[in-house]
């Protein structure tokens, strides 16, 4: 055995910025992601703080012909009114609340279920994995829209019901993604080291597998939110959404479609545009987050 005085190891080129700062910098460098974030913040302000500023009655149906079906630019109704006399601008805010709440919570629920299901299937592997993933395959084979329509037809669609149902049909794709990650993570040495000292499977999944899929999880969650908002819009457009006087952007589209040939474009364009903008914004954020969590993009 020798006594040597080895050269000092080259110190890692530690950036002075903390990991969080660097991740934020990477996110910020994606212009689309920043635009997406700004749009989502503005939309949330519009839908939730807007009604405090622009107070309108969205419950009482008006039969006053002087109030209904006013075109855009009418004093007091910048975007006009619909056939029941509701102010369109105020209605957009109220409908947006429904769309955003359902979208965010359903996306979150789908991500939660999908992550747990996928992590457990991938970690255990073997026949358990095979059975759990066949369940996912079977679920993907069922058309989600069809399932939602039937449920809406036999039950009274309310916001909590919509959240649960959309959450329950859209966890399948995240489950597949997370399972694929879990399979690679479970062979990492830190999981083996935990098993070697006698750590439990629960600990391996909860403390090592799931936290290490967080990148995939969050990125996927943003896409889930966008998908859920679209799904709510489909259902409502087909007339099976939340019941009046509650509404959402999809329902506004349906109502407006009857008047398209009359040239009342202000009934359709604003909600349609908001759906497109919201879905795009969440997708942009998803892309930005993917850059942020991309290990290969980590310089130094």
């Amino acid at each position: 055995m020798t006594t040597s005085t080895p050269a000092p190891e080259l110190a890692p080129r530690l950036s002075t910025a903390s990991p969080a700062t660097r991740a934020w910098r990477r996110f910020r460098s994606n212009k689309l992601a920043m635009i997406g974030t700004t749009i989502v913040i503005l939309l949330i302000l519009f839908c939730f703080a807007g009604p405090l500023v622009w107070v309108t009655d969205q419950v009482t149906v008006s039969i006053d012909l002087a109030i209904i079906n006013k075109p855009w630019g009418t004093p007091g109704h910048p975007l006009g009114t619909n056939n029941l006399g509701y102010d369109i601008l105020g209605r957009l805010m109220k409908a947006g609340q429904t769309s955003l709440i359902i979208g965010l919570l359903a996306g979150l629920l789908a991500t939660l279920i999908g992550t747990c299901w996928g992590a457990i299937a991938g970690y255990i592997g073997g026949p358990v994995d095979a059975i759990m993933m066949r369940v996912v395959d079977a679920g993907i084979a069922l058309p989600a829209t069809f399932l939602l329509l039937i449920l809406s037809a036999i039950m009274h669609p309310s916001i909590p019901l919509m959240i649960v149902v959309i959450g329950l049909v859209s966890w399948l794709v995240p489950a597949r993604l997370i399972r694929a990650e879990a399979i690679t993570i479970k062979t990492r040495d830190y999981v083996l080291a935990l098993r070697a000292v006698g750590g439990s499977h629960t600990r391996a999944v909860a403390r090592h597998i799931i936290p290490n899929t967080i990148g995939t999880m969050i990125v996927n969650a943003t896409f889930q939110v966008a998908d859920a908002i679209l799904l709510v819009a489909y259902i409502s457009f087909l007339g099976m959404g939340v019941e009046p006087p509650a509404t959402d952007w999809g329902a506004m589209l349906t109502k407006g479609i009857d008047y398209t040939y009359a040239g009342y474009w202000w009934l359709i364009f604003p909600p349609g545009l908001l759906i497109v903008i919201t879905v795009c914004a969440f997708n942009f954020i998803g892309d930005g987050l993917r850059d942020m969590f991309d290990v290969k993009g980590r310089q130094s």
Binding site: R188, D189, Y190, A196, R203, Q299
Partner: protein, 589 residues
């Protein structure tokens, strides 16, 4: 700093003058190579040595014009009178392959798995329009024969996956040689290979350099490889060439401070009794020694014991036996080295001791208690596992990237909540104590693994392994992924911890020199069999089993004189038929 070139009249093939490379990132500019100059003459091998981050690979990529767009290169690189930095991309495409070619580290990824071996050699020839297709096919077979591929006509029609790792690297060499380039840049050409295969490839490179006018730029971190084939050496550190000169001079009498420390950090091996070994082999008195089944002395307690253990891997319903009837004892407070090449079953044995793979036959016991590889652990199993610590090879994957260093180290405490260490403060105190024991500053507790260097991470791994004060430590290639000077630090840390805590250690490594420095006894594995066990001091100078002899002769020594003796011994042993059959043939009964 300028490399001193030998004063011969021959014009150098490659001249690098005042090369500077800087990388521009969004966090500023940092230098990778500073003012480097060197030259290589025809038929010479210049070894560019240094540790990771020293700039040696960046230098080679600068010569080939393959640096990424973020690099700023200044200086002059001249290949046979032509300035490479002024040549455009189109000209460089002609130069690459025709005048300069490259040998990569990993032969599997350097070859296209969907093309036949012959077609890949031909492709280089036809791409550069050196000859017609029919001519190229003939040349390809010739080249494959020249690099020592047996039965080249048949092999040329085969695919890369049908070849062994060493043969694949030979094909890569054949491709590099195809256009008879003036310069071959070899970036760690043997690092991915086992030592016995490495020795064959080095012999080939040596032969090629001697008989052709091709110059070799060899990039390596392995001083043994340098001692084997290099004529000149340039030592790089932090972007600077700190020393350069003839190989023997640099390796035996290093002048620069860094070279001295680098060479001092290389694990040493004693000079083996090659004359005795070769004589015994020539007289045919080499026999397969019986592996001692029992302990050398009866009074020591076994900490870890394999009793006639066999281990199977089941894949697709078929079992593959990875270890056959292993009987091995690791006494308390002793380090036993386990060496072998890849696929020999040494890591499998370690994982079996950890209870990660079950033993198909026989038993594995820790302090007299059997180790079970059950999915759901009983309280008894957990108690056994408390006695075993583990440290793995890859510092990049042995720590959870989303946990702080403190969380990584204290995890075994949370699993077992041992008495006196169950409270939060007690755990924090234990983490601080262990960080101190592995010589890391206490504020690292709040850092994340990716903020640490490889050596520091491996020391955190050590701290985690001994946090429960285990009686047995399984170290599976703990320093293979580290640079030599870092390796020396980590080995020192392991040695002093072993002295302080008195655990027994199964030290698994492919590196005989490291095992020689670390262990009291050595066990040699080959194709799933334990072929020889002995005291380190005697096994390293006078191995008994033909495979151990072959292994020892293949390990390149950083001492050029010892390396010359090994090469000679290897040459003599290769001519003996019975040695070859013993070492290549069927595993021992």
């Amino acid at each position: 700093m300028t490399a001193t070139a030998p004063t011969t009249g021959v014009q150098p093939v490659l001249t690098v003058e005042h090369l500077n490379v800087q990388f521009v990132t969004d966090e500023g500019t940092y230098p990778a190579v500073n003012d480097s100059s060197f030259e290589i003459r025809p038929g010479e091998v210049l070894a560019l040595v240094g540790e990771s981050g020293s700039g040696k690979s960046v230098t080679s990529l600068a010569i080939l014009g393959l640096l990424p767009g973020t690099a700023r290169v200044t200086g002059r690189i001249t290949l046979a009178g032509e300035s490479l930095l002024d040549a455009g991309e189109a000209r460089m495409n002609v130069i690459r392959g025709a005048s300069v070619s490259m040998l990569f580290q990993e032969p599997m990824t350097a070859l296209n798995p969907t093309m036949t071996v012959g077609a890949q050699v031909m492709e280089v020839l036809t791409n550069h329009r050196i000859c017609s297709k029919a001519e190229a096919a003939k040349r390809a077979v010739e080249l494959l024969g020249r690099v020592g591929i047996p039965d080249p006509e048949r092999r040329a029609k085969g695919y890369p996956h049908e070849l062994s790792g060493g043969q694949r690297q030979r094909v890569v060499i054949a491709i590099a040689l195809a256009c008879e380039p003036k310069l071959i840049v070899a970036d760690e050409p043997t690092t991915a290979l086992d030592v016995t295969v490495q020795a064959e490839i080095l012999d080939l490179l040596r032969k090629l350099a001697r008989e052709s006018a091709t110059a070799f730029l060899l990039i390596t971190h392995n001083m043994g490889v340098v001692a084997d084939i290099a004529d000149h050496v340039a030592v790089m550190y932090n972007g600077d060439i700190v020393e350069s000169g003839p190989m023997k001079q640099v390796l035996l009498e290093p002048a620069a401070d860094y070279s001295q420390r680098l060479i001092a950090a290389i694990p040493k091996m004693p000079a083996a009794h090659w004359d005795d070994i070769v004589t015994a082999a020539q007289e045919g008195t080499v026999t397969v020694p019986a592996v001692p089944a029992s302990l050398p002395a009866d009074d020591v307690r076994p900490a870890l014991q394999f009793d006639n253990a066999s281990i199977d891997y089941v894949r697709g319903g078929r079992a593959f036996r990875a270890a056959h009837n292993i009987t091995l004892t690791i006494p308390e407070k002793e380090i036993v080295g386990l060496v072998g090449e890849s696929g020999s079953g040494k890591s499998t044995l370690g994982r079996c001791a950890l209870g990660l793979i079950p033993a198909a036959e026989g038993t594995v016991t820790v302090l007299g208690h059997p180790v079970h590889a059950r999915s759901l652990l009983s309280a008894e199993d957990k108690a056994v596992r408390r006695q075993i610590g583990v440290i793995f090879q890859d510092p990049g994957s042995s720590l959870d990237p989303r946990m702080t260093i403190a969380q990584c180290i204290e995890e075994p405490l949370l699993v077992h909540s041992p008495e006196g260490l169950s409270g939060r403060q007690a755990r924090q105190a234990r983490v601080a104590e262990l960080l101190d024991a592995v010589e890391l500053p206490s504020h690292y507790a709040m850092r994340y693994p990716h903020e640490l260097s490889g050596g520091q991470r491996q020391r955190v791994g050590l701290a985690r392994a001994i946090v429960l004060n285990p009686r047995v430590l399984i170290a599976d290639e703990p320093t293979s992924a580290l640079d030599v000077s870092v390796q020396a630090h980590v080995l020192d840390a392991l040695r002093s911890l072993q002295a302080a805590y008195g655990f027994a250690c199964l030290f698994i490594s492919h590196d005989l020199a490291v095992v020689n420095e670390m262990s009291h006894r050595v066990a040699v594995m080959w194709q799933g069999h334990l072929v020889e066990v002995g005291e380190t001091a005697s096994l390293m100078v006078r191995p008994q089993h033909p495979y151990t002899i072959r292994l020892l002769a293949a390990v390149p020594s950083p001492d050029p004189r010892e390396q010359a003796r090994r090469r000679e011994a290897r040459r003599k042993l290769a001519t003996l038929d019975d040695m070859a059959t013993l070492a290549d043939g069927a595993p021992p009964a």
